[in-house]
């Protein structure tokens, strides 16, 4: 796949060096980040390194700041008035994404997102998937057709919808809609996919399908997934970060977090004693 220089901004021409670094190299470096919604601080001094082509899970009780941190990674929080990263840096391949010279539009093309509640556009399946490409000015029909098929196959949805690509995306079942959203995200070939509790609104069978999908996607993408579900984190992820009250309590290999947590709070949480 042809990876254009990401995070480049026309103003400065700065771009994140593209290296086909081996799985496990640091892709996103979150460095002592404080984050505020207006006057209320939601993240306290978070530092963690997200590795390339791995699945990193964020766990923790509700309201502990998992979504907030996730949305910092593609600057979705910019859309909310009064938010700011007050301290620290988030670097992707060494580039500070909050630097004024960074083009946020470009950033979001490289860092895709799947939301908690599936949100296909009220358009056809085909148009949903090609939306991001059309934004980039790509309109060649056979080109788009190819991407649609590839993305839907990538999201394990092709066989189910190939005969009704031009019907509304809202006509799919909940699980299918969520996979459509994943297909839509991967269609623009991002490097990172952020998933905010992608299965919380799905039934168990649809959940299994999405989890299987995540296992397939990990070979191509770096995935950060927020989840409420301990088993899911244990099954899907390589690394797990446990948050509590806006602080990162523990970050380690998933196996270590679940088998042998270093912190008593982590231990209490993963064993289901609170949260």
């Amino acid at each position: 796949m042809d990876i254009k220089s990401p995070f480049s901004s026309p103003a400065s021409g700065r771009s994140i060096p593209v290296t086909t670094s081996p799985a496990g190299a640091t892709l996103i470096d979150i460095d002592h980040v404080d984050f505020y919604y207006g006057a209320s601080q939601a993240l306290h001094d978070i530092s963690l390194k997200i590795e390339e082509k791995k699945v990193t899970a964020f766990i923790g009780p509700s309201g502990c700041g998992k979504s907030t941190l996730l949305r910092c990674l593609n600057r979705m929080n910019d859309l909310i008035d009064g938010t700011r990263v007050a301290k620290g840096q988030i670097k992707i391949r060494g580039i500070d994404i909050y630097d004024p010279s960074v083009d946020v539009i470009e950033l979001r093309k490289r860092v895709g997102m799947v939301f908690q509640k599936s949100n296909p556009f009220p358009k056809s399946i085909y148009e949903n998937i090609t939306y991001g490409l059309r934004l980039q000015g790509r309109s060649n029909k056979s080109d788009l057709d190819a991407v649609v098929e590839k993305s839907l196959r990538g999201a394990a949805l092709w066989d189910e919808v190939k005969d009704r690509l031009h019907t509304s995306g809202l006509g799919l079942s909940g699980g299918q809609q969520q996979r459509l959203c994943i297909a839509r995200a991967i269609a623009v070939e991002p490097e990172v996919i952020l998933m905010d509790e992608p299965c919380s609104a799905l039934d168990p069978i649809a959940t299994v399908k999405v989890e299987e999908l995540i296992q397939e996607l990990r070979t191509k993408f770096t995935i950060v997934i927020v989840t409420h579900n301990m088993q899911q984190a244990a099954r899907c992820s390589d690394k797990t970060a446990f948050f509590y009250m806006g602080k990162l309590i523990e970050f380690a290999d998933t196996r270590a977090i679940f088998m042998n947590p270093a912190n008593a709070q982590t231990e209490a949480y993963v064993s289901g004693r609170f949260g």
Partner: protein
Amino acid sequence: METPRPTSHSDFLVNKKRIRVLGLSLDDAIKIFFGGNAVLSVIVLALITYFLFQEGFGFFGQNHRNLLTYRQAGLEYVDFIRTQESGHIALTRYLSDLRLRQYNEYVATQKMLPSAANDALAKFDEFAVQYGDAVESIRGMVSDLTEQATAIKTKFLIAEDKKIERQQLLAAGKIEAAAAVKIETVDFAAELHVLKGILPLYKETNADFAKKLDAALMAAPKFTTPELSARFDRFKELTRDYLATFPSTTSSLETWDYTRPVPWYQAISAFLFGREWLTASFWQDWYGIVPLLMGSIMVSLVALVIAVPLGVGAAIYINQIASAREQRIVKPSIEFISAFPSVVLGFFGIAVLGQSLRWLSQQAWLAWVPGFPFSERLNILTAGCLLALIAVPTIFTLAEDALQNVPKAFKEASFALGATRLQTIIKIVVPASLSGIISAVLLGLGRVIGETMVVLLCAGNRIAIPDFTAGLAVVTQPVHTMTGIIAQEMGEVVRGSIHYRALFVVGIVLFFLSLGINFIAQKIVRKYRISIG
């Protein structure tokens, strides 16, 4: 909440004490109050509808009689010849226009003095006089016949009035007085015999008329430019076409028969497709809704052309782009516009808007705008601009609602895929709320088409179908509207007269128009609710 909890104590009271008035609890009273209001409004609505129809439907019978009288009293017969005469008038108007052009040519291009130009036109004038005078004998005939037919009609109408008088007396039990009322029955056959006796004379006069026109054309003047010559050729062609209609006029006169019945549907079609609304005329009243309908439509159209971009644009800006502070200021301001009484807007339209639009139209640097300059201060454009002001708050508020209803998740998804704000608005937000926006526009249209005061004051109130050959300049013409005519004429008409009832039917048409618009808007809104989920 009133189910008592199971309890071992039988004296455990959970029922609260209820106040009862006339055997009704408070709950019942509330239910009756609100239910009663609902029922009352339904009843009132039904009564209004019933009243509209009851007053209106008599119109068609009366209109049928109106048309029948038109035929029986021979007015129709006379109008055949009158139409011929007015055809000639149109041609002479064309001729005057031609003279003016030639005159301007002489003065402006050839730099002749006005007197010299007039001298040069002497031959043309001779021709024009000859051409114009040819119709004199026909014109004389028409005015004689008009008198005769009017006399027959008056006689007939008096007789009808007497009949009613007698019936009223009989109903009041005054039999003697009733017998004393003399009713002169009109013998149409005899009366019309005189009228129709004119036919041989007409044929003779007409042949003479045709000959004179032919002769005039032979002695046609010359023109100095090919353009004018072409125009004159066109004129000759028109005259020839005109002459070609003579035989059909004659045959209409020959075959005309006052006893031929007027089909019932003509009472309706003459209303729905009638191109003239002419009342209190000494000759014949016509109740054709087309000019009024056209007036209403044109004014509303202009209003929408202005109000839709403004209202929808403002809604998009306020909902999607503006800061919270701007929202706090702009939203109430736009909604405040609807607080103006429409009569105040009407004053504003007459005193300020119409005046300034006319002033603007007379500026030399704006002469390229179609229809500029115009002299009528009150016209479609003036009324349309003001109606736009009335429609903007409706469209803005409803469109803003529709935009507000677009789930935030769509926008987030779009941003997350790397869309800019503008792309998100154009590709996601507006399409997702499109049906809501369309219905906002339709409801704005409903608001505008029913508006009365502004159009009455500012549309110019000329009852005529706008001349669409003027192209875009059509908007500078004055019109009259359905609402305007009702407001203007309802106060002056005799209750129960055909004119009175005609106004009611106009009201019914308006009612159905609004109903239709609202219905479609509702349909669209419902569909949109389903599609967004």
